[in-house]
């Protein structure tokens, strides 16, 4: 199944490149036995193209476009698409510069990422499978405040401040990061002060986390970051009826109050 899908994708990529409408196709390739992102151009060996393991390509598209390509196609999953949407909204990528080719994740992949939307809005490859909700979500919701504080304090005590979560994140695009500013985060302190470091990062993820699981996968200490960000996504839905990546609306933290909400606030 997966092999068949891979062959189909390779064929489509070849066709897209030969068609000449795009300058390149951003996907994964295998080189020296390892898989990483690569911008395929006309004439490249398409047999090196891979779709596994998962790697969020949205932020890589910024680099691909900065390298001179005017329009590229991108082979991606649900999370790639959502991350692209957030980057479009934040003027990091021109919407017209990307042609998205979507593939749905398998049930195993969805389970691995604990993803509740393991498919893009337009599926060209693969079959839609059901989303997954991690059982820990209930556990933390049922804890008392003090228990929760102890839980997160212990979890974040493992942090080695490698910035892996930040670097892997497709929607962390600020050129100057507050987490590297000594005003907020003391240099050379490991683990970083709790709750300072992690609350700041969590707050910054609030209206943009697309639940791609890259941060948690990158974390060498297995801190359950997405558990916290998942709760924030729910809050966004409840407070502003906004789901990062899925909604067309502008990010609510960048807009002002309107109509009935004006009355509520007063």
């Amino acid at each position: 199944m997966l092999v068949l899908m891979l062959e189909d994708i390779r064929k489509l990529v070849k066709k897209t490149l030969d068609g000449g409408k795009v300058d390149g196709v951003l996907a994964l390739w295998r080189e020296n036995g390892r898989v990483g992102p690569h911008l395929f151009v006309k004439g490249d060996d398409i047999s090196t193209l891979e779709i596994d393991p998962k790697y969020n390509l949205a932020a890589v598209a910024i680099l691909a476009l900065a390298s001179g390509a005017k329009k590229i196609a991108l082979i991606g999953r649900g999370c790639d698409e959502r991350a692209l949407v957030e980057l479009f909204k934040r003027y990091q990528i021109d919407e017209n510069a990307i042609e998205f080719i979507g593939m749905a994740c398998s049930a195993e992949q969805a389970k691995f990422c604990e993803c509740d939307i393991p498919y893009p809005t337009k599926i060209q490859f693969g079959k839609k499978v059901k989303g997954v909700v991690p059982p820990e979500l209930n556990d933390v919701n049922e804890m008392s405040l003090d228990e929760r504080f102890a839980y997160w304090r212990d979890a974040f005590a493992k942090c080695v401040k490698c910035y892996g979560c930040k670097n892997a994140c497709p929607v962390c695009v600020c050129e100057e990061c507050v987490l590297e500013d000594p005003m907020w985060v003391k240099k050379g302190e490991i683990p970083p002060a709790f709750p300072m470091f992690h609350l700041i990062r969590a707050y910054h993820m609030a209206d943009r986390c697309v639940q791609c699981y890259e941060c948690e996968e990158a974390c060498p200490m297995d801190i359950p970051l997405t558990l916290l960000y998942r709760q924030l996504r729910q809050d966004m839905k409840e407070l502003f009826d906004y789901l990062p990546g899925a909604s067309d609306a502008k990010p609510p933290l960048t807009t002002v109050l309107e109509d009935e909400k004006l009355e509520e606030g007063a």
């Binding site: 933390v140 504080f149 997160w152 709750p195 707050y203 002002v256 007063a266």
Partner: protein, 138 residues
Amino acid sequence: MTFEPNILAFCCNWCSYAAADLAGIGRMDQPTNIKIVRVMCSGRVKPEFVIKALSDGVDGVLILGCHIGDCHYVTGNHRTLKRFQVLERLLEHIGIDPRRIRLDWASAAEAEPFSNMIREFTEQIRELGPNPYAGSYA
């Protein structure tokens, strides 16, 4: 020794700071646990400010601005309100009592509501006790 709360208040230049000023001129009786930081607009208060205050051991944080619709910069306090709602939720998720932070509005004429608010919040923090969340792992 009894616990005296250490409270940080961010007041905007145009409304709530003027309210604090008026309360002082009117010699209103209010607790002295509040340390005021004047900002030009409550919209200047990044959530980082509040998080840092709590992380560094402050017992409670107040953010005070103009009433919605009266902001000197028209929509500055709209943003404060939205950020505050998210911050409240976030603190709760991580196990910090969201009653330690409060967002409120005071116009330049509302000296009495201002000092009532200060009294109320100081009492609330006194009941909650000292900040147990402060600091690093060291």
